[in-house]
């Protein structure tokens, strides 16, 4: 029941800060454009690297959305106020992590057309594609939410969050890129399934672990 209340709060916050999300989308689209310059106008190579670029763009954007979501909590210590009501740290964590995953999923889905246009990397397997984006976004947001809860309380948050988060999400990146490229470039051996299972396993581990640890991070 508390989770419903925290989710309601997150929806309110996201709706009120929707212009921020639009700005992050532009950031992501710009990075996709810039990535293509590193390859050159070689449509075949671009198509090959498109999934990698998509996920790198999403990973870079995630640091922005994560920081912003905790900036709102920390500037007037709103999170502390909720903890003292009392709200359970777990419901606050899962509310936040779900909201961040949702935001990243939206961003990922919005970036697909950009990827299709820039890299000619389209696919008809839309549900599978969205499924991979949801799982990947969840994998980024679970540890991302935990780490941002720490770094947002520090002065040098912009540097520290990528430093902590990026090495950790290597498996997410690998699995999501592989699965996405198998979806786009064709999957004769049916390998995408095993990458999706890896993503699910990562999500399962970190959604439970970070929920347990969040309380220690936000409580003084």
């Amino acid at each position: 029941m508390q989770l419903a209340a925290t989710l309601r709060k997150e929806i309110l916050l996201q709706w009120r800060t929707r212009s921020q999300i639009a700005a992050v989308f532009i950031f992501g689209a710009t990075s996709l454009l810039l990535f293509s310059f590193s390859i050159g106008p070689n449509s075949e190579a671009l198509r090959l690297y498109a999934p990698g670029f998509l996920w790198l763009g999403l990973l870079l954007s995630s640091t922005l959305t994560l920081s912003e979501s905790f900036h709102l909590e920390m500037e007037e210590r709103a999170l502390e106020g909720l903890l003292l009501l009392p709200a359970s740290d777990r419901s606050l964590y899962y509310g936040k992590a779900i909201a961040n995953a949702f935001q990243l999923t939206l961003l990922g889905i919005a970036l697909i057309p950009v990827m299709v246009v820039l890299y000619d990397a389209g696919t008809t397997r839309i549900p599978a594609m969205i499924g991979v984006i949801i799982l990947g976004a969840a994998g980024l947001s679970a540890p991302g939410t935990l780490y941002t809860a720490m770094t947002s309380q520090l002065r040098s948050q912009q540097t520290l969050l990528p430093l902590l988060l990026f090495p950790l999400v290597v498996p997410v990146l690998l699995a999501a890129v592989k699965a996405t490229s198998l979806i786009i470039l064709g999957d004769p051996m049916g390998q995408a399934r095993s990458w999706i299972i890896l993503l699910i396993a990562f999500d399962a581990i970190y959604w439970s672990l970070c929920g347990l640890l969040f309380g220690r991070v936000v409580e003084d």
Partner: protein
Amino acid sequence: MRGSRPASRSSPIEGRRKPLSVANDSSAAIEAFELSRRYGRRWALANVSFRVERGSSVLLAGRNGSGKSTLLRVLSTAIRADRGTARIEGLDLRADRYEVRKKIALLGHHTNTYDALSAWQNLAISASLLGMPASRSAMMPLLEEVGLAERADDAIVGFSAGMRKRISIARVLLQIEAAPESAGASVIFLDEPYNQLDPPGFRFVDQMFKRLKEKGATVVMATHLIEHGAKICDVGMVLEGGRLIWSGPAADLPMRGGIAPALLTEGVA
């Protein structure tokens, strides 16, 4: 005003040397035992022990940096004690943290609000977490009470410090009412509640104070307005350098509270 104090002159606060030999009797709202908290090299709160009876009101005085806010934050579980502990209505600060939070409400220096959201939405978030109806119409009476009804739909980001304070006060009121199944907060910590408020705001805090006392709640108020506080509180406590240096009837505090005269002359925040 003085008539509101209990007839007996004996203070509900007693410092104690031994760890609460008659502890855990349910009549105490707060029993603190050697509460201490450090910030880095400094003990902001050092061995503070006292006992507050239910329904009494405490005036917490002391200079800037004497540990008033730290004490209130430790007692309200916003921060941990590094040493010692306390019981709030019989519940241990450390062991029963979550349960303690159901009993307390803190009006602190931070407003605990979301700038991007409107006044009513901020209150609605708290209300829904407390399991209370959280619609806009349910929030309106509360906003009217704190004088913000016309600004209910405006984002807080444009609010003045005093208006933000009123929202915090509204949230404390919400916690006191709370859901019907739980009793609501009954130990209230007010950290400089008059700060940033205009004269109508002052009267408003006093009204809230009176209402709390009528409900039988225990109130601990840190303020620099000692003469005013002494009129409405039962008990006085003075902190200095993180230590409890004086406690007694609040009415005595302005005259006999040790450093209290110095506090009065050094200006009021």
